[in-house]
């Protein structure tokens, strides 16, 4: 258990800058999700904290101690990999015990710690099996178990759920979060899935092209995105963006309105043509196309009537829901 501090951490591969300086203070026991599209540098950032990539510039501190030059083992971290990285020839027990064996923990304590973790993760019946004899969800649990038995200061998760099917992903999401709360270990979790980020994070870092666009609590980020990218990336369906000149305002400005804040109306601020309606049961998504070709989506209650495809409808929203972005994508 420890705090984790990133202080203007940068990474370059040769002359290519991959991460342009990320800073964050993570409190003890906090669950931080790093989210962003592929290639934004989120995994690289995590691997720098793990010690698997060198840090070009800046400083990483775990528990107030600079760890830039430390080996992964000495950093007191544990990592869960995307493909689990279980040792195929070792039993579940040996997989979980390997790190402890190397650390020369006494046999009796290894057994006790593994048993404890196995109980926590409901892996007790499988301890003698090999990884290939387990299902995806169970392998995932073993990878978690391997991290838990080390009793690290920081957990690092590198897209741990992306190899699971959709249903299992939702279930494991809850389990990981519950487990982390129970153990109270500071965690850094990388994902490209904004739903995971929204549901799991205490705070999240939204990365875009090697820059942390926004750091904040999920609902704050959702309600008040700092940049156009964040507004478009967080939330599904994504925020509708409308250029100012469509509304008779400055063309420098772009407006962002979330689908649930947009309403269909007789007249309204602008007109658009309905192209397709997706009835999802609880809600209906109405897709429309504006006169300049911009696509917008309106999310409305399933009970509300929806327009016929091809018909021209008006769109309106409350001014307080309007997010204005300048030409560089920043809020203004």
């Amino acid at each position: 258990m420890a705090t984790l501090t990133l202080n203007n951490v940068k990474k370059s591969f040769g002359k290519t800058d991959v991460i342009h300086g990320v800073s964050i203070d993570v409190e003890d026991g906090e669950f931080i999700v790093i989210v962003g599209p592929s290639g934004c540098g989120k995994s690289t950032l995590l691997r720098m904290v793990a010690g698997l990539e060198t840090i070009t510039d800046g400083e990483v501190q775990i528990g107030g101690r600079r760890v830039n030059e430390e080996e992964p083992m000495a950093r007191d971290i544990a990592m869960v990999f995307q493909n689990y990285a279980l040792y195929p020839h070792m039993s579940v027990f040996d997989n979980m015990a390997y790190g402890l064996k190397i650390a020369k923990v006494p046999r009796s304590e290894i057994e006790q710690r593994v048993a404890q973790a196995a109980k926590l993760l409901q892996l007790e019946p499988y301890l003698q099996r090999k990884p290939r004899e387990l299902s995806g969800g169970q392998r995932q649990r073993v990878a978690m178990g391997r991290a838990i038995v080390r009793k690290p200061a920081v957990f690092l998760f590198d897209e741990p759920l992306s190899n699971l099917d959709a249903k299992l992903r939702v279930q494991m999401r809850l389990e990981i979060r519950a487990l982390q709360r129970e153990l109270g270990v500071t965690s850094l979790y990388v994902t490209h899935d904004q739903v995971e980020a929204m549901t799991m994070a205490d705070r999240m870092i939204v990365m875009n092209g090697g820059v942390a666009d926004q750091i904040g609590k999920p609902l704050e980020v959702y309600a008040n995105p700092a940049t156009e990218f964040v507004a478009g990336f967080i939330g599904s369906p994504p925020t509708n963006f409308i250029t100012g000149d469509l509304l008779g305002r400055s063309s420098e400005i772009k407006l962002g309105v979330r689908p649930e804040h947009m309403r269909l109306a007789e007249t309204g601020a602008m007109q658009a043509r309905a192209t397709y309606c997706e009835a999802l049961g609880a809600e209906t998504l109405v897709h429309l196309i504006c006169e300049d070709g911009t696509q917008v989506t309106v999310r409305q209650d399933a009970a509300a009537s929806f327009p016929e495809e091809g018909s021209l409808v008006g769109l309106e929203w409350d001014a307080r829901h309007e997010m204005r972005f300048d030409a560089s994508g920043r809020r203004c």
């Binding site: 971290i77 990285a85 195929p88 020839h89």
Partner: protein
């Protein structure tokens, strides 16, 4: 072509014909071995008098014990021992060296890494026979003629095996090495605890191939062993042939041939189970 596609399911004349073909093929290959075996169980006069016998005689124990204990130049038991030592040395040495060099090439960054890989790869083009004269010179200057080191060392490095292990190591996910690093395993620990057990299937397969390669070495032992007590069995058979007017002791020579065949067969049969099991169990 239509007939060929149906061949697997079709039972009847086709099936019998294929079996007949296979049986003829096997008999064709096996016949000389059978003749050698028959020749090793009869007495000298019976061999030289035509027609050659086709059924085993009653001299089995006499011929084999004579071959094993006395031989012609050296007892066959001694030559078998030499061959075994040489084949094992070559197989084990080659596997150890190849594993380590492949490990270095795949997992470490060092200057000239690519160059070294290609240098190793280039030696594939230089079989023993090509470099045999300079190699002889080197071994002779080291005073290794008529010694086990001389038999083993020049053949102990293998580009093929290095290449094979390199290919295998490259299929091992990087995350596994990283996980081991996070677990605190140093490079050699990772090698012994994780990479080595994962390569056991490849090691078994290579051992079979390399053991037979070592066992069947002919030219090199012929060149550097002049002392009959250092003869290996494959070249030893040749040494048993008479020169000039001597009379060949064919039953003993044939018994030696059969004995020379036994260890490779045992290795193939014995290891086959192991590496089929390894193949079935293997997973990366």
């Amino acid at each position: 072509m239509a007939e060929q596609t149906g061949m697997v399911e079709k039972r009847g004349a086709g099936l019998w014909l294929t079996h007949l073909g296979l049986i003829i093929g096997v008999a064709f290959i096996f016949f000389p071995i059978w003749l050698a075996f028959v020749a090793s169980t009869v007495s000298q006069p019976e061999i030289v008098r035509p027609p050659m016998p086709l059924l085993p005689g009653d001299q089995f124990f006499e011929n084999y014990s004579k071959a094993l204990t006395a031989g012609i130049n050296a007892p066959v038991a001694l030559m078998l021992g030499n061959s075994l030592f040489m084949a094992l040395g070559i197989a084990i040495g080659k596997i150890a060296i190849s594993l380590l060099s492949a490990f270095a090439i795949v997992y470490f960054k060092f200057p000239g890494k690519k160059l070294f890989f290609w240098l190793i790869f280039l030696t594939l083009m230089l079989p023993v026979e090509v470099r045999i004269v300079p190699t002889y010179e080197v071994i002779a200057n080291f005073g290794m003629l008529n010694s086990y080191q001389g038999l083993i060392l020049p053949l102990i490095a293998s580009a093929t095996a290095t290449f094979l292990f390199r290919q295998f190591f490259m299929t091992v996910p990087d995350e596994l090495a990283e996980a081991a690093r996070v677990d605190g395993a140093g490079p050699m620990r990772f090698f012994f605890d994780i990479l080595l057990p994962m390569s056991r299937t490849n090691i078994a397969a290579l051992f079979v191939i390399l053991f037979i390669y070592g066992w069947n070495q002919y030219l090199w032992p012929l060149l550097i062993t002049t002392d009959p007590s250092m003869n290996t069995i494959v070249m030893g058979i040749k040494q048993m042939f008479p020169s000039g007017d001597d009379i060949a002791d064919w039953p003993v020579i044939m018994a030696t041939s059969i004995l020379a065949m036994v260890p490779p067969v045992l290795v193939v049969v014995g290891m086959q189970k192991l590496f089929i099991r390894g193949l079935v169990e293997s997973e990366k």
